[in-house]
Symmetry: C2
Subunit: 533 residues, 2 copies
């Protein structure tokens, strides 16, 4: 078999080594446009802040050494210009000497990744204005910050990379402004978690501007960044986190079927609409593991799974890609934000019925030092309780809970199952009843209609028809209260039932939810229409 | 309903509050022999070392306040002397005034926990010799260490509590000897992990004596602890971690059915052989979630699950206890050791066929700072690949991996499923291919018989019939090698195939397993009988 791979970042490179491992006799040729292969893009922002001190650690593989070890034909600085499907060849340009040649293939793998598009802003070509997508970009940025006095930096884009960059620029001691066109940070998350990320980022001194865009950059003594809403920022460094989309030019020109987001459509064996052409990674749209619809999930973990499936498929072994969950985790200063599966906003967009719970918890038992608050949201099917997605944020233990729930999602578990998982407990690590179990329990209660919850967001609109009962202690109540709420401490509710209305819903609120849960149960049993806020 | 609960530690107390939450009208009476309820026993060793500084944090609940808040009849310092099943009463002694009375019940819950038995050693009554099972014990120990000069402490027992105590005594600045009668520490784990725990404990300065027992203690200027093998230790403090067993005296006397370990046998609704008597926690034997056999798992997480099931059962709601996995985690200085499900030794004892993999990995990607090595072992069914158990040890990320695998075990996942879980990745948290996925992949390969592994323990006995091939780099090889192994660096194997035997099995070894895996695949394809060490 003659295998040709287009693209030498992590995906293409691991396709090459994996296929070699399964097949000693295959001829394997890889074309990569840049001089580097298998770069660790996800580490780039951390080098800016010095967390990853050595640039070389971001370059894990020497192309010649990898080629020799696995008997691969690795051609860096070679650009593939076209795929000629009838002839089963690719047209390649050697960027060193400009020579163009045809390379035949039996099987072709498109691992072309994503392409970054920077906006055509006036001033984008100025010194001190950079995109960050690859190692050459990073090298230019590092040259700049090491040789110029930088006091203020401007980051454009409030997604993962923008936030990681902002954190790392703060770590360098710069004042940082972050410009995000949308109404919130981390649009991949539901609004509650975007809000946590925003508050936390601002608390660490980042000047976050939402709903605004960079309009132009002008050279002054420093750079002057003009925002669309009229303000200007005097700044020394502008970092643009580019919008990304599947790099589909080759596939499109060759007539390979693409999905709605522009990704190459693949089947469960990672095969495109052309049986001789496979694709993996940021260039494809893969089935969502929960809904089955084609989704674009440009993340490293799904890529690795896809490479594994592809190598098995090429070797004729049984393998089936189960689809992507979109599990991710991101560090924002000392906050961790993570998610798996579908979000509330995605479920609404799909018009898919769901229920949800959002609870606070702690990373481990309170009596052991350094317990941290974390927030966990579960989204699940209202009929059978099947988990649909989860999100979490906090200072510790967040990645663990989301990994447990990603496993539960992979297994098709329900909230009843999640309540019953026997997790590991010792005081430094968790609790006899982990926040995951607790969220499962609250979800289970909700499905059994013992305790009807109501989301805070639903409250203001409905408040005239509701009786809001605040059951916190007197001390807690002194810190402020919901306007219009009636305050009766939980311990006194049994004696003061006569103060509560029987004719309208009672929304019970407390500090973290436990007392309100007990009171809601009590009231429900006494015939009141109680819901836990 | 008149509910009587015997025992006011975490289990009995939460039965009381949970039943109240489900049932406003029940009469709920709880009898507890000591003055305290709901104590956090798992925190006791940490108070010794000052990690948990405030004793009060170990006493989370005030009995009177809890009673008032949930309308419970909580009687501390009341001992239940007998269960009279035909009359449905318990005989109770008020320890304050010695009065004995009968208390009727509709339903009875036995939450009597475990009882600690200290060996009848000569000298066990001496000042400075203590058991550690409850808060009064802890108080006596803390009084002693605060008022006497302690330089050396002796801990008897190498299970969780003994090791946590040893760590906390080292934290106080004492020299510590730990005496364990068995051949290894943490007998609940397989030997590889016991060995890691031993090395780590010794590396932190603890004088560990295996296969020896404390024979007697004599008063000298200090205490003199005589060991069974003849040595003596001059010491200032002897802490005995008691052997524990189900506290079954009441149940036994009342003729309630017990299991082989002495625990009260319960069904899936936590009901004993008497339909009016339920039991939870350390007093019971529950079905193993993997095998279904009755097992004794005295841990806090199964207890919590059992309490939940019991409360649902008493409320007439559908609920079924799925059994215990025995998931646990333990911190040993800066090492974390954790496990879930069955161990190799347990599988052998059950004569149940299994396969296993044991691999090294890292807590997160190596290019991000502070990546820590961890070891992960999977045990699984040789036919269908179903997970049977997992163990892990390392300095970071161990609890997360075991929680993921406990979830997988709960869901009945196979190693094929485990290879495909999409976990969360960002450089500070994991890897594009997590050690969990990697272990699943190695297990999958093994089942598909591409790569036959061989455990290091099997090597010495078989070595005359084997050709051991060391494929590490020259640099790695200089640090030492397996006696008799032939060294050919992985990169040179293809060129030196003629040096390898075709007539006997080749065991391929390297530093961490990746190179050996590739070479094993290569050799297998060329017709050699290769296995990865």
């Amino acid at each position: 078999m003659k295998l040709v791979i287009v693209g030498g970042s992590a995906g293409g490179t691991s396709v090459a080594t994996r296929v070699r491992r399964a097949n000693e006799s295959a001829s394997i040729t890889l074309f990569e446009r840049t001089a580097h292969i298998a770069s660790a893009y996800c580490g780039l922002p951390y080098h800016v802040g010095g967390v990853i001190a050595q640039r070389e650690t971001l370059l894990p593989v020497n192309p010649a050494e990898l080629a020799r070890r696995h008997r691969l034909n690795i051609r860096t600085r070679h650009e593939v210009l076209a795929v000629n499907r009838p002839a089963q060849t690719v047209t390649v340009r050697d960027l060193a000497d400009g020579r163009i040649f045809e390379e035949p293939y039996d099987k072709l793998v498109l691992a072309t990744g994503a392409e970054a598009h920077l906006p055509a802003l006036p001033g984008i070509e100025l010194p001190g204005v950079f995109g960050l997508r690859n190692l050459p970009d990073l090298d230019r940025i590092m040259d700049w910050v090491k040789t110029r006095p930088v006091r203020h930096a401007t980051v454009v884009g409030g997604g993962f990379v923008g936030l990681e960059l902002a954190e790392n620029l703060v770590r360098r001691g710069y004042a940082v402004s972050l410009i995000e066109a949308g109404p919130r940070l981390m649009p991949a998350l539901d609004p509650e978690f975007s809000r946590l990320a925003l508050d936390h980022t601002r608390a660490h001194g980042v000047d976050v501007r939402l709903g605004d865009t960079l309009a132009s950059i002008a050279p002054r003594a420093r750079l002057r960044a003009a925002l669309a809403h009229g303000e200007t920022l005097d700044t020394d460094l502008v970092l643009l986190t580019p919008g990304v989309r599947p790099a589909n030019a080759l596939a499109r020109a060759a007539g390979v079927a693409l999905g709605g987001r522009g990704g190459i459509l693949v089947d469960e064996q990672m095969r495109s609409s052309d049986a001789a052409i496979y694709a993996v990674g940021d260039a494809i749209e893969a089935p969502c593991a929960v809904t089955g619809e084609a989704v674009w999930v440009p993340l490293a973990v799904p890529l690795n799974q896809q490479v594994r499936i592809l190598a098995s498929a090429l070797a004729g072994e049984p393998a089936r890609y189960r689809g992507a969950l979109g599990t991710f985790v991101c560090r924002l200063f000392d906050l961790t934000v993570a998610a798996t599966g579908l979000t509330e906003q995605r479920l609404r967009a799909l018009s898919r019925p769901f229920e949800q719970v959002l609870i606070p918890g702690t990373s481990h038992v309170g009596f052991y030092p350094d317990a941290q608050t974390l927030y966990l949201k579960l989204l699940f099917d209202p009929l059978d309780g099947k988990l649909l997605g989860a999100q979490a944020a906090g200072r510790a233990g967040v990645d663990k809970r989301i990994d447990v729930l990603a496993t539960a999602l992979t297994a098709g578990m329900t909230v009843y199952d999640i309540e019953a998982i026997e997790l590991a407990y010792a005081p430094p690590y968790g609790a006899p009843r982990d926040v995951v179990n607790l969220a499962g329990a609250v979800a289970t209660s909700l499905l059994r209609e013992k305790v009807r919850g109501v989301a805070p967001a639903a409250l203001p609109a409905a408040s005239r028809d509701l009786f809001v009962l605040d059951v916190r202690t007197l001390e807690e109540h002194e810190f402020g209260a919901i306007p219009g709420a009636v305050h009766i401490p939980a311990d006194a509710v049994r004696e003061r039932l006569h103060e509560l209305p029987r004719d309208k819903p009672i929304v019970v609120s407390c500090q973290i939810g436990a007392k309100a849960h007990s009171v809601t149960r009590l009231l429900s049993q006494r015939g009141y229409k109680a819901r836990n806020l």
